[in-house]
Symmetry: C2
Amino acid sequence: MAQIRDVSRRAGVSPATVSRAFSDPGKLSKDTLQRVLKAAEDLDYKPSSLAQVFRGKRTNSVLVLVPDLANVLFARVLSGIERIASENGFHLLVSDTKDDTDVEKAGLEMVETHRADGVIQLGERGLKQLHKDGNACKIPFVHAIETGEPVPYPTVKIDNFAASEAMATYLMALGHRRIGVIAGLRDRRVTNERLNGFRKALGSFGVAFDPTLVEYGPYSMAGGAQSGLRLLSRHRDITALFTMSDEIAIGAIRTALDLGLKLPEDLSVTGFDNIEFGKYCTPPLTTVMQPAERIGEVAMTLMCNLLRDEMTGDAQQTLATELVIRSSARRLS
Amino acid sequence: MAQIRDVSRRAGVSPATVSRAFSDPGKLSKDTLQRVLKAAEDLDYKPSSLAQVFRGKRTNSVLVLVPDLANVLFARVLSGIERIASENGFHLLVSDTKDDTDVEKAGLEMVETHRADGVIQLGERGLKQLHKDGNACKIPFVHAIETGEPVPYPTVKIDNFAASEAMATYLMALGHRRIGVIAGLRDRRVTNERLNGFRKALGSFGVAFDPTLVEYGPYSMAGGAQSGLRLLSRHRDITALFTMSDEIAIGAIRTALDLGLKLPEDLSVTGFDNIEFGKYCTPPLTTVMQPAERIGEVAMTLMCNLLRDEMTGDAQQTLATELVIRSSARRLS
DNA sequence: AGATTCTATACAATCGGTTTCATTGCAAGT
DNA sequence: ACTTGCAATGAAACCGATTGTATAGAATCT
């Protein structure tokens, strides 16, 4: 690939002039500009972005730490991030962390070693441990889909408590009182927040919370199927299942059907996230809409502001959720 | 962040020695090595990866061109790519092309401008147009999930023709003769290959191909639902639906159910890809397993070889598919 | 005309490492 | 004692662009 020197020689000017021909053409005389552009064209010259970045100390890339790339929800968030990134001329580096602290630390080092300008982390895990170092704070960092612990960096999230409360209230309003809960992983904040929202709704209706009606497990279809089986075989009187993700719900529905239950007649099931498949389920899934793409867009927008030193708007963004009523939950008859 | 000069000063050595302390410690005396390492530790020095890359002209990053990041299949392929990349110390740049040629070209320029060492493209579209330039050939390029046109770069794919033939044969063996086809986009090679496989199977059973039984549409649930509606309302005698993706199948199933059909009693449906949701569908989806993660792994492995100039093994890889028999297709009664 | 300003361009430093080549010092060989 | 060889280290070039400063020539002013 031709370099700036080749072009400058061919045009009979200095490398500086060639550089300016691209970065600040107004500074050059018409004649010189012509010659330089012609020479660059002839040699198919493209400035080495790497050299530019090295000189300027701005990589124009942002690293995204994703706990699981194959996860539908994260994929959608990533898609939102990508849109805003490309609109603003940023490249995206992507790393699948598998919730591994070492990988996350390596990610932060990418900024320290000038491979990326900032880091967007998706999911539960924040910078807790790394934060104590103090210097980690200096890294432009945005956290998306996190769960509301007060932190000193911008975050984008939904109000899990309120959304869960709304969904549980809906279920109660339909007359359900024995509601099984298929929760996510036990140690996750998001799980606790959603559980607390659920309990709040229960309380509002004067119903006591029964811990034996809660089953914890992974946020996956397989997890939902297993937890569902345990819960349904333990409690025959359950009339509704409040689950903490659409995938869990879909797994639980499979189990319920396999157990010979009729849905939604015998059992109401609700999800969380509103992934596309929920709409095509049988029965179509009543769930909480989580604006995944939008979360990604907002996260990347915050990152742009951060990198431009224009941290204007509110840095702790809570996006609105919405109840999506379909037919997997119905009035208790 | 401390630089190499700071460390060298503190350790009382030259920058060259500090550099060697990291890249080739054996070359240094025990004493010096100790001092340098101590100084680096004290200053929390980390070599600027950017400067290293600039000097060495190897970015250790690979760009992945994904037509749609939110697509389940691509997300899984990406996940496989990521695993191999991180195992081999490569960073991943990701770009959502939306099948836009300009974005694809910009991707190739990333290599020419030294931001990436190579490009992995996912999906149908190859380098056709860019190839004529000739110079594009010099870019380390791997194409995954493509469709078998002879090309001068490594590819990873499945045998769409054979897989479709196998699935169609299975359907015929179950006694189905009036089989509706919900195809993907009309202009895609993958669509034609799968259709040809289907026709081959038909021919083997001496059944004539009826073009009116084919409906084209996007590879999505919405597309499947729409095409399904058109097909089922046009032809009441269809006993099975051969669809070209699981998403299409899931959409079509929704439509069939909404039409009041009983599945699989009244209608058999088959998918393609074996996405996880198929297992939890109602009825669980009979489909063709496409090894998405594996495709990604192989693609990235090929890229590694390419970048190491060890293009040993076969560059045109065709991975095995498998019929996944569940219950959405059954014997015609 | 001579002084002053402005314009267009060149020169050279710079970004932060790596690497080649040269140099020094010490041990082994003759 | 004098070379020879090797190990350890430093000096400086280099990667390919950008940019601050200097300068020559043209234009403007007095």
